[in-house]
Assembly symmetry: C2
Homo-oligomer: 184 residues x 2
């Protein structure tokens, strides 16, 4: 596991405990709001793509009466940090030994490779065994290319990933990892 | 009006004629698909933000039975080009002398200023009088700050904006304008 500088393991355990029960999406949204309010980064969750089948009007405003969910071809979050394009996906698994690849659609895998080609920063946040790991898009693709498994082993995630700390009032503070991995 | 280099006016008229009747969103989607297929840029339209009120299950898949449209706080399109973060909005008006500012929500105006602060490229594509103009976010904000009007005059759009050409099989080719304005 790559520990970013100065990580105090007992602190990490403490914050992990605090974070227990808060779902991954909420803790990322909390971070994004903190970053927005403090003008550190602009990262938004994309709305879920839907196909609208039927609309009607109620009090002069359009209402959706029927729609279905579409499969996303990009990742859930994107935005800008220190002038760089950022995009990522966040997934949690209850598996203890591996992260099942069915969590990421084939279109999204292609997309990750395209973002890298165009010079963007792309990664996956994987919540596994009560810890939140940031796994770089390149490491993610390397694993897929070199393994026939349909899941990424927890050992690989520990080896290549960075543990992200949940911080009180800041949420899941992934920018501190980006600073270490991409901006130092 | 800032004509990009080598624009042949008769060609411009020709392509504008071809584009007549095709709506702005389709001509931008066509360009984005062309850019994606040719690996020039990764730009996607964000799904419309919705609030889901009620879902049900049909044949094991989740279906939306009731939802409403939310007001967007970011712009419609974003992505990456030559390593840079790109975001824009596209609007058309049937007004001939000005572009009504009610087309852009107050949250979006704030957002434009934030994208600029964080070093992104941000602009508005305005279709007015059968022409598609790219107006830089900074020029857009400058106008709002220095004018009390609730619309941007066509004269200002012509002065500061760049006419984007519709090209056969390429759609509304705004990257060629970005090359001239931001990458030359």
């Amino acid at each position: 596991m790559n520990y970013p500088n100065n990580i105090n393991k007992s602190y990490k355990k403490f914050v992990t405990y605090n974070n227990r029960g808060m779902d991954l999406e909420n803790s990322i949204n909390e971070a994004n709001e903190y970053y927005l309010e403090n003008n550190l980064a602009l990262i938004y969750k994309k709305p879920t793509p839907i196909g609208i089948v039927k609309v009607s009007y109620e009090n002069n405003s359009k209402v959706i009466d029927k729609a279905y969910f579409k499969e996303p071809s990009t990742l859930d979050y994107n935005g800008i940090y220190k002038g760089k394009y950022i995009e990522f996906e966040a997934k949690e698994t209850t598996n203890k030994t591996s992260f099942p690849l069915r969590n990421i659609h084939p279109h999204q895998i292609k997309h990750i490779s395209k973002v890298l080609e165009h010079g963007g920063i792309v990664f996956i946040i994987i919540k596994i065994n009560q810890l939140d790991y940031l796994l770089d898009g390149k490491d993610f693709l390397d694993y897929i290319e070199n393994n026939q498994r349909n899941s990424i082993t927890y050992d690989y995630i520990k080896e290549k990933g960075f543990v992200i700390n949940y911080k009180f009032n800041k949420g899941l503070d992934y920018l501190s990892i980006l600073d270490k991995k991409y901006f130092s």
